[in-house]
């Protein structure tokens, strides 16, 4: 089984570029050049230098003792929350802004759900002195207010997406429409391993730094490169893709993905795409998505803005359908409890997205010597309001 992208941009039957002609020139420009640009030594040097000196990589791989004692096994946290701007998203935006510069683009657009990708994009635009417009669903603008303020502080324009459920899917639609309207000077920095080819591959390769470092760090700390489990939450799938990228061919490494079940997988308020989804096309990619029998996309729901997406990246769809990866889901409530648990056990406040991965730990029934690497994709500062509301209403966590 191959997990590499094929020359036409597919992982198995998933992927491709189902785009209107209005986007063709832009996508083709990117597709025909991204591999060459990324392979160029001067690009690699600039990318790696920025990751080290600006982002603060490598991010630590931390053995969490109290969490391990609670759930069994040895649980390592890959600390993407310690990156500049507080999540894994900046690995991708640093890479893409360097690509955009080499394509001589002067204007950057992005979509954002939780605001982490928006902040990471606004940050690199400030760094490179490029105009930045971020689309964000009106619902998300409300529930992720600190990140909206950060984007504005960084000089980005935040434009509300007011269609549909006013969340990540709708913000992505608006960003695509902006790109259609601005075919010459603009690069679209997609925030996950979604969208038309070559985005899923390009973003996965920028996030692959996570597994590259993990291999070396685990070797240093455990004397082996391979853990028994890799565990990550999945919205579009970029932090998961980064965590698993260099392990895909290592069949002894089990891949576990955590989806947002919202109020319950079958409650009608969920974002559990792998269970509720079927094959179709969303944002230019053939993949699994939540839809009705006429192909109308169903509005997802999750307490976490970054997981509130009705699709899943084509690489992840391929890993799931070929059984290379196994998916668990966590409800809003389970995620909240897992976030509070990590805060109280390890002194780390995780992002709500990440909390869904933490909530899956009890399902793994870990044996004492089994090693898990959990991608701690982001920090929880942006979610404090949501956390505080829930701590106050739950007596056992007072």
């Amino acid at each position: 089984m191959s997990y590499e992208i094929d020359p036409r941009g597919y992982y198995g039957e998933y992927g491709g570029a189902y785009i209107p002609e209005m986007l063709h020139a832009n996508i083709e420009e990117l597709r025909s050049q991204y591999q060459e640009i990324m392979a160029d030594p001067s690009f690699q040097k600039e990318y790696n230098t920025l990751l080290r000196n600006y982002v603060g990589r490598p991010s630590p791989l931390y053995l969490a003792p109290r969490l391990s004692a609670k759930h069994g096994g040895k649980i390592y946290l890959k600390r993407e929350d310690l990156n500049h701007t507080g999540a894994h998203k900046i690995n991708n935006t640093i890479g893409q802004i360097l690509v955009a510069k080499r394509l001589h683009k002067t204007r950057i657009i992005a979509e954002t759900g939780a605001g982490q990708h928006g902040v990471a994009t606004a940050t690199v635009c400030a760094l490179m002195n490029l105009e930045c417009v971020v689309y964000m669903g009106s619902t998300d603008i409300e529930r992720q207010a600190p990140n909206v303020a950060r984007m504005k502080m960084l000089g980005a324009k935040v434009r509300p997406a007011t269609s549909g459920s006013q969340t990540l899917k709708d913000a992505t639609n608006e960003a695509i429409r902006d790109w259609i309207n601005n075919p010459h000077d603009t690069h679209y920095i997609i925030g996950s391993v979604v969208g038309p080819h070559p985005y899923p591959d390009m973003v996965a390769k920028f996030q692959a730094i996570i597994s590259q470092e993990t291999k070396q760090q685990l070797l240093e700390q455990e004397g082996r490169e391979n853990p028994d489990y890799l565990l990550a939450c999945v919205g579009g799938g970029s932090n998961a893709a980064g965590l698993v990228y260099h392990y895909l061919d290592q069949n002894d490494v089990k891949i576990i993905l955590a989806e947002a079940a919202g109020k319950g997988v079958h409650s009608g308020h969920s974002a559990a795409t792998s269970i509720l989804g079927s094959l179709g096309i969303i944002h230019g990619s053939k993949t699994l998505l939540m839809q009705d029998k006429d192909g109308q996309i169903i509005e997802p729901y999750s307490i976490s803005a970054g997981l509130d997406y009705p699709g899943i990246g084509p690489l992840l769809a391929h890993l799931i359908s070929s059984k290379r990866a196994k998916v668990y889901s966590a409800t809003d409530q389970e995620a909240l409890e897992a976030a509070i648990e990590l805060s109280r056990y390890e002194g780390i406040i995780p992002a709500l997205e990440t909390a869904h991965a933490l909530a899956v730990l009890p399902h793994l029934n870990l044996k004492t010597d089994e090693i898990v690497v959990l991608n701690l994709s982001g920090r929880g500062d942006k979610d404090l309001d949501t956390y505080i509301d829930n701590i106050d209403t739950r007596s056992n966590f007072q």
């Binding site: 570029a17 002609e21 063709h24 639609n173 259609i180 601005n182 969303i282 839809q291 029998k293 192909g295």
Partner: protein
């Protein structure tokens, strides 16, 4: 000869194609709207299959699509409405929608429903030409359903020729680099692009769409192509209408020279 070929064989100029969203403004308005359009002298109907995520559409068509879906519009009903139109009219009908709709309905079920109800052709902006050649071209031909591909000012000459060859209904000339509903006056660089296309000796009839919204833009488009397509502006007319047929007759009259 199908209805579209018949039309282009007898009329080569000033073709008027009007886009309307099925199930908008009210669920069962579709038939009345199409018949009024025909009565007013429209040549082709582009019937929108409302979609939840119309990536190439601006606010106006997003609005009409969301409204139609909220009204309860769905594909089975859309094909019923086309059948009802066919009891009274032979006007060419082109369905416009997104590929996911066709995939979920089922490719062969969708194409059979098109030919059974009397649809003549499809416009599916996110259907790539290579996928069409591999998996759609033969099946659509055998169902007698035509297709129109889009070209834009950015489309390379090589792709232009390919789109021209593959477009069995007409070539959809997107007038500017934008989503639908961007109603400005036609600028010089657009005229140069229209002229360039006119000189290329393309084989498919050309209809210019996107931004065509009044008599002046319609006439300009017709000067360089076989006709034009009006979408968002027509939806705007319907949106403020109290008597659909009357609105349609007077709007179409404003487009046509005396």
């Amino acid at each position: 000869m199908n209805r579209i070929e018949q039309l282009f064989s007898r009329k080569k100029e000033n073709i008027l194609n009007i886009y309307t969203t099925a199930g908008y403004p009210k669920l069962h308005d579709t038939v009345e709207i199409v018949l009024a359009l025909e009565q007013a002298g429209t040549d082709i109907i582009e019937l929108g299959m409302p979609y939840s995520d119309p990536m190439a559409d601006g606010e106006t068509i997003q609005y009409s699509s969301a409204k139609a879906l909220a009204n309860g519009m769905h594909l089975d009903l859309l094909f019923e409405q086309v059948k009802e139109i066919r009891l009274k009219s032979e006007i060419p009908i082109v369905l416009m929608g997104y590929l996911n709709q066709m995939i979920q309905y089922g490719q062969s079920r969708f194409l059979s429903a098109c030919s059974d109800s009397g649809v003549d052709a499809l416009i599916i902006p996110d259907l790539p030409m290579d996928i069409y050649e591999e998996d759609y071209q033969e099946k659509m031909k055998s169902h007698g359903i035509g297709i129109s591909f889009l070209v834009t000012p950015q489309t390379s000459e090589e792709r232009l020729y390919k789109a021209d060859t593959l477009s069995s209904a007409f070539l959809y000339v997107v007038s500017q680099s934008s989503i639908t509903g961007n109603n400005k006056n036609i600028k010089n660089d657009q005229l140069q692009y229209f002229e360039r296309l006119a000189r290329l000796n393309l084989s498919a009839p050309r209809l210019v769409g996107f931004g065509i919204h009044d008599r002046s833009t319609y006439e300009t488009a017709c000067n360089f192509a076989n006709g034009a397509i009006i979408g968002s502006e027509f939806i705007r007319q319907l949106r403020s209408s109290e008597d659909l047929t009357a609105t349609i007759l007077s709007f179409i009259a404003t487009l046509k020279s005396s």
